[in-house]
Subunit: 285 residues, 2 copies
C-alpha cells in the first residue's frame, strides 16, 4: 500500500515533505524572465527543486492554488509536473483541499485520482461529512492512493471553528475520530491507514491526537516560515515515523540573500532540506 | 453592488438559480457524439441551457468539479463558459468551495476573482477560519464580487459535523455568526451583504438562520433531485427575496423520457425552470 511506501521513505530519508508552492516571490532574481510564461516558470522551478532535493525528501506536496492562479496554462503545468514527478518515482501529494457533496466529489475524485491531475495522495476537506469522502474511497481499495483530511490546520485563525468545544473536546478531535473510523479498513502493513490527517505544527493538537489515533498518518504543515519548530512537531511522531513535516518557503526561497542565487538556488534548497532533516532528527525519538 | 443586482433579479424573475453541472448522464442521447471532446460538449450543453433559461433565472451556478474532471481542456471550457455567460450579462456563481490558509487563498482569489476563471460570486469553505477568507475581501471592496460561505449543506451526512452542538447550538450557526460579522461592512442598498451563506434546502436550518441573520443572502442547494421541496426552502425568504434556490439535474435532465430530446432539451429545461418558479412562488410570502 502506498502509505507503507511513504512510511518506508520516512524511515529511510526522514520526514521532510518539500512543499512546491511556486510563485515569483520565491524565485531567484532573473528566474521568471528566462521563461515564456509564468506557468512554464512555475513548472521548471519545481522540477529544479525536485531534482536537487528528491533523494532527501519523503515526498512532495504540490499546491494546486499556485497553478490555478495562472489559469488554464497553469493547470497544464500542474498536470505535467505531477506526471513528471510520479514518473521519476517520487510520492506526490496533490494539495487540493476539495470537498463537496457526493455527486460532485465523484468528479473531483475522477480529476485527481483517476484523471489528468492524478496524484498519489490528496488533501481533502471533510466539512460535508462522510458522504463527501465516499467517492474517493474506491480509489483507496487498490492501495495506490491515500488521503489526508483536514483536521487541525496551522494558520492563526484555525481556532475560530476547529477549536470550538463539542462535548468538552475540540471540534478537530471529533473530525479526527470520524477520519479514524472511516480509515480503519484501509490499514497497511506499517500499521498506518491510507486515510490520514492534516494536523498543523500545533503542539497541543499533535500531542492530543497522536496517542489517541496511533494508525493515523499525519501531514504536518506550519513548520519553518509559518512559525512551527521541531519542538512543536515532535509529538507528531511515533517511533520516529507516522508523519511528514512540510516546508515550502524555507526551502524554495533558501537562496534569498545568498550569492549566485539564480544559478545555485537548487543547491541552497538542498542545504535547507538537510538542515531541516537534522533539526527534525533532534526531536524524533 | 453586485448583491443588489442579484436582489433585483430575484425581484424581477424569481429565485431560480440554474445549476450548470454538465456530464454525460444529463445529456440527451446523441448529444456527446456531436462534439470533438467531452469538454466542448460540456461547454456547449451549458450554453444551450443558458440560452433557453437565462431570462427566467436569477443567476447561474457553474460547478467547476464537472470541468476539472475533464482535465486541462475541461478547465479551458469552464473559463470560456464563465466569460461567455458574464459577457451576456448573466450573474455567475463559480461553485468552487475552495478554502486554505491565507497565503494559499490569495492564489485562489487571484484565480477566481482576479484571473482567468473570474466569476461574479464564489462559494468558499470556512473551516480555516477568518484569515482564509481575508484574501478574498479586497475583491469585495469594489462591490463587484460576492461570496457564499458554506454554512449548512444539503447532503445526508451534513449533520456529521455541521450539526454538532457547540454551547447548545449547532456548529453551522456559529459559522453563520462569523460570516455575518465578517460581512457587516459589505452591505448593499438592498440591505444584503456581499458575504452570504450556502444553506441547503433543510427547513430547520433555514428557519433557524433567516430571522437571526436578516442581511445574509442565502444560496440554497438541495431542491428537486436532492429531495428538497418548496415547503423546505420557504423559510429562506424574507419578503420574497434574500435567497436563490438551485436546481441542476431537474432542469438539465428534464428531457429524460420526453420526445425529441436531442433537439428539444433546451425547451424542456425552460419548462422545468418555469415549473420550479411557479412551485417556489407558492411559498414566497
Amino acid at each position: 500500500m502506498i502509505i507503507d511506501r511513504l512510511w518506508a521513505r520516512v524511515k529511510e530519508r526522514g520526514p521532510v515533505c518539500v512543499g512546491l508552492d511556486p510563485s515569483p516571490d520565491v524565485y531567484p532574481p532573473g528566474f521568471l524572465e528566462k521563461f515564456g510564461s509564468p506557468a512554464e516558470a512555475a513548472r521548471c522551478f519545481c522540477r529544479e527543486i525536485a531534482a536537487a532535493t528528491g533523494d532527501l525528501a519523503a515526498c512532495f506536496k504540490v499546491q494546486i492554488a499556485h497553478f490555478e492562479a495562472l489559469g488554464v496554462e497553469g493547470l497544464r503545468a500542474y498536470r505535467d509536473l505531477l506526471r513528471e514527478l510520479r514518473a521519476e518515482g517520487h510520492l506526490v501529494i496533490g494539495d487540493v483541499k476539495r470537498g463537496d457533496i457526493a455527486s460532485t466529489a465523484a468528479h473531483y475524485a475522477q480529476a485527481h485520482f483517476g484523471g489528468e491531475f492524478r496524484a498519489d495522495f490528496l488533501t481533502l476537506n471533510a466539512y460535508f461529512g462522510a458522504d463527501a469522502l465516499a467517492p474517493f474511497l474506491p480509489y483507496l481499495e487498490g492501495g495506490e492512493h491515500g488521503i489526508f483530511v483536514l483536521v487541525r490546520t496551522s494558520n492563526p485563525s484555525a481556532a475560530d471553528l476547529q477549536d470550538l468545544l463539542v462535548e468538552g473536546r475540540p471540534l478537530y478531535e471529533h473530525v479526527a475520530e470520524r477520519v479514524a473510523a472511516w480509515g480503519e479498513r484501509f490499514r497497511g502493513a506499517s500499521g498506518y491507514s491510507l486515510l490520514g490527517a492534516v494536523v498543523g505544527a500545533h503542539r497541543p493538537a499533535l500531542a492530543r491526537l497522536r496517542p489517541r489515533f496511533p494508525s493515523m498518518f499525519f501531514l504536518v504543515p506550519g513548520y519553518g516560515a509559518q512559525g512551527g519548530t521541531a519542538q512543536d512537531v515532535a509529538p507528531a511522531f511515533r517511533e520516529g515515523n507516522g508523519a511528514v513535516v512540510v516546508a515550502a518557503r524555507a526551502i524554495l526561497a533558501a537562496h534569498r540573500g545568498k550569492p549566485a542565487a539564480l544559478a545555485r538556488f537548487p543547491y541552497y534548497a538542498r542545504a535547507a532540506v538537510q538542515a531541516m532533516a537534522e533539526d527534525l532528527a533532534s526531536c524524533r525519538p
